[in-house]
Symmetry: C2
Subunit: 314 residues, 2 copies
């Protein structure tokens, strides 16, 4: 739904939330990145480069890597794809990472996960130069984020932050509740909201009266991975709801054996209460690759001692 359609709909009923169009916003972010990349080329003769490593032939990973490569080129960056056979030895993968770490044309490095079982994701991430770790997975980046320093921030929470800032402007003093405490989303999301001066609560499976905790949230970020676990009556009227969950569920109404994607929030009841809400799909999801490109541009600026890209970092 477009912004205009959402607003028209809201006028028809005060009870219905604005639908945050992540696909449109991600396209806008990519446009900003493309503009900054063009200026960087013109002013400094530098083209940001992103290297993506794919080990093996997982079909979903192949699609992701292809999409990343396409969007990397579209914003004017260089894309380097390294496709290795499934049986690649760890030392050969590490040798490739070492070469990319040392390559001045490469500003971002990511290895598409999952990798085959004989390889260790933790060790792969640890091998990547933290300043080129555009997925924000390295323990040094977690530490920089946790201590309020300049980090590479993992793409999904960064995308959520951008959506929130775009919607709300300053987040200072708002009550933010993050449901879920994963290393990939929940914990870095809490750090980012704290850095923007929210009062931050992290709730999870052990939380008592989670409904009441959620009802206190001006900003509610759901990152649990349980389909539709958060109903509308857990949501404060007017709250901004960011749904990170992407869960595949049976959809017999679409035909026998059919499935569909739903979030961690029960969209139909939540949209009657929230002030704004991200849909699934089409909300947070499209922001992830946009933030990967934003991080690559940020890494490039930092490596070259240039100012941070405008509006694209935490």
């Amino acid at each position: 739904m477009t912004d205009r359609a959402a607003k028209a709909r809201k006028q028809g009923s005060d009870m219905s939330a604005d639908i945050i169009d992540g696909k449109a916003f991600a396209a806008k972010v990519r446009g900003q990145i493309a503009g900054q990349v063009a200026r960087m080329k013109a002013d400094h003769g530098i083209t940001p480069g992103l290297a993506v490593i794919l080990v093996g032939e997982d079909p979903a990973s192949q699609v992701y890597v292809r999409n990343k490569g396409t969007q990397t080129l579209e914003v004017g960056m260089h894309s380097y794809e390294h496709k290795l056979p499934a049986e690649t030895r760890a030392e050969d993968l590490y040798a490739l990472i070492d070469r990319l770490n040392a390559d001045p044309a490469v500003h971002g490095i990511l290895c598409q996960f999952p990798v085959p079982a004989h390889l260790s994701e933790t060790e792969i991430v640890a091998r990547i130069d933290p300043s080129k770790d555009v997925d924000g997975l390295h323990v040094v980046n977690a530490g920089l984020l946790a201590s309020g320093q300049r980090a590479m921030v993992s793409c999904t929470p960064l995308g959520c932050l951008m959506l929130l800032r775009d919607r709300l402007g300053s987040l200072s003093g708002l009550n933010a509740v993050v449901v879920g405490r994963s290393n990939l989303v929940g914990k870095p999301m809490a750090q980012l909201l704290l850095r923007d001066s929210c009062t931050v609560t992290i709730a999870h499976s052990r939380t008592k009266d989670i409904a009441a905790v959620c009802r206190g949230a001006d900003i509610l970020v759901a990152a649990v991975g349980r389909p539709r676990m958060i109903p509308g009556d857990w949501i404060k009227p007017g709250a901004t709801v960011i749904d990170v969950g992407i869960n595949r569920v049976d959809a017999p109404e679409r035909g026998p054996g059919k499935t569909r994607l739903v979030g961690d929030v029960d969209f139909d009841s939540a949209k009657e209460v929230a002030g704004a809400i991200t849909p699934v799909p089409g909300g947070v999801g499209p922001m992830t690759i946009a933030c990967l490109l934003a991080n690559t541009l940020t890494a490039c600026c930092r490596i070259h001692g240039l100012p941070e890209p405008d509006g694209l970092t935490a």
Copy 2:
């Protein structure tokens, strides 16, 4: 006040909190450490060693370093003190740190802060091997803590955690509110409480209606550095209150020009509401050196591939 005195007092009035005796608890922790150090010597022939670096002649720092040295020896560890002149060059300090990093007799390294202005605390900490960073200040330790891995945890939040576990047993599902978001205390404290499955809220100067936020806390940790900012009527009846603040205030009642130490919590009104509370002084403070020794033992165990010391780690 002893535990017994606190209990007797509580029996006299249901409204008065147990006073958590940090001095007595720290002595107990040091006793546990001494026992484990003795066993480590007997079973493995290993004596944990702590190296403390002091640059310059700050009088307060000299007292701290002396106390650390005394307590290190008392628990049966080796203490190595390196006192350098105030004008020590950075490269000479780094060379010393490099030697200590490589020295198998040294399991913990700390540099007493503040250092003279020509030296960078950030760079000093970055130079210390994270596995020997017993102050838990290195960015790698912040990252390990933030991602739920085995870290060196900074001493004050670790001490608070030990007091809480001793008082409450399992913390799972309790509502914890941390007031203050410093890198040294507030943020690592929140990580530790989250790891112990509390529902964690971080409040700070931008928090709206901080009184109401505090009133929701089963566990309230105050780490702001503002004398007596938290009055009794911000506290949930029966809550456990940990007061990290150490603020020096005028005490004209003690005579002209006299001062005294107070916490971030208004002790007199808070103790009428809380279930238990740490006093200032004598609460969290004495735990800090005990946790430094605990971390040195932990570092020694990890370096030698031995099991974590019992009850002394996060």
